[in-house]
């Protein structure tokens, strides 16, 4: 197997991991929209009626984009949206921390309830870096298997 071929497989693995993470994150929140609405509300940036509607919408957007990355169908669209989502999320988390809010991120439903700020931030930045790398790799050479 040539080096280029190996790189294709490596990027494909990153695709599956990133896509899987967002599908898992979306499904965990779809199951309890009220809890996710509370998690959004805890950021104290949006009125409740917006938070509760986002709580129904965002998990499905994560699932669809995650599936797009996994299946490579609407791949670039999915990656672009995920880049925006994770960037907004990192910004909101840092802003909340700066305002002294001690909140659970709600990113993975109950699974992330006890994560501290540093854990959130490191994981989010790692995901953000991986998505940017995928976008960059995809724009340089079409990675297709």
């Amino acid at each position: 197997m040539g080096e280029e071929e190996q790189m294709k497989y490596a990027w494909r693995v990153v695709d599956l991991i990133i896509g899987g993470i967002f599908v898992y994150a979306g499904v965990s929140k779809v199951l309890d929209p009220a809890q996710f609405a509370n998690d959004i509300d805890n950021y104290k940036t949006l009125p409740w009626f917006v938070s509760v509607r986002l709580a129904f919408y965002l998990p499905w957007l994560e699932i669809f984009c995650g599936l797009a990355v996994i299946s490579r169908f609407f791949y670039r669209g999915g990656l672009s949206i995920l880049t925006g989502l994770i960037a907004v999320f990192i910004g909101a988390t840092v802003a909340a921390k700066m305002r002294g809010l001690d909140i659970t991120c709600g990113c993975f439903g109950h699974a992330s309830k006890n994560w501290n700020f540093s854990t959130h931030l490191v994981l989010d930045l790692a995901i953000f870096a991986a998505i940017l790398a995928l976008l960059f790799a995809n724009s340089r050479h079409r990675v297709e298997l």
Binding site: K44, F49, G78, I81
Partner: protein, 142 residues
Amino acid sequence: MKLRAVREGLILIALAFLPAIGEGIYFRDKVSWQSPIPASELVTVDQARAWSDGAIWVDARPDEEFARDHVPGAFSLNEDHWNELLAQFLPNLSRDKKVVVYCSAESCNAARDVAKRLRDEAQLKDVFVLQGGWEEWVKKSK
């Protein structure tokens, strides 16, 4: 290539609306759409005081705020030491009494979260959140 990404992104954004709307319809009666706490789960200071001995007060604020001052007879039950405080609280609980949970003010979420956990984990039914929280209690006590 950018145009394609935009087009794909817009399609994904539109597609995600469909199950979200379906889920919203399914959960329409289980979620409070206008306020984080449904009106049926809120109680005013005057109403709660009228319950007198029929109510148990729960202070969801951090330990140091509880130590500073609290509603007479209130139990401290916050999420920082949930298991420990819940174990202390439950033996004092009478199932026929209403539980009134409060935190610092109207804007805090601790009372809502503690009330939810009392319903979910302690299987309590009559759990209410005090409107305006401790701030309102102090105002009404002057």
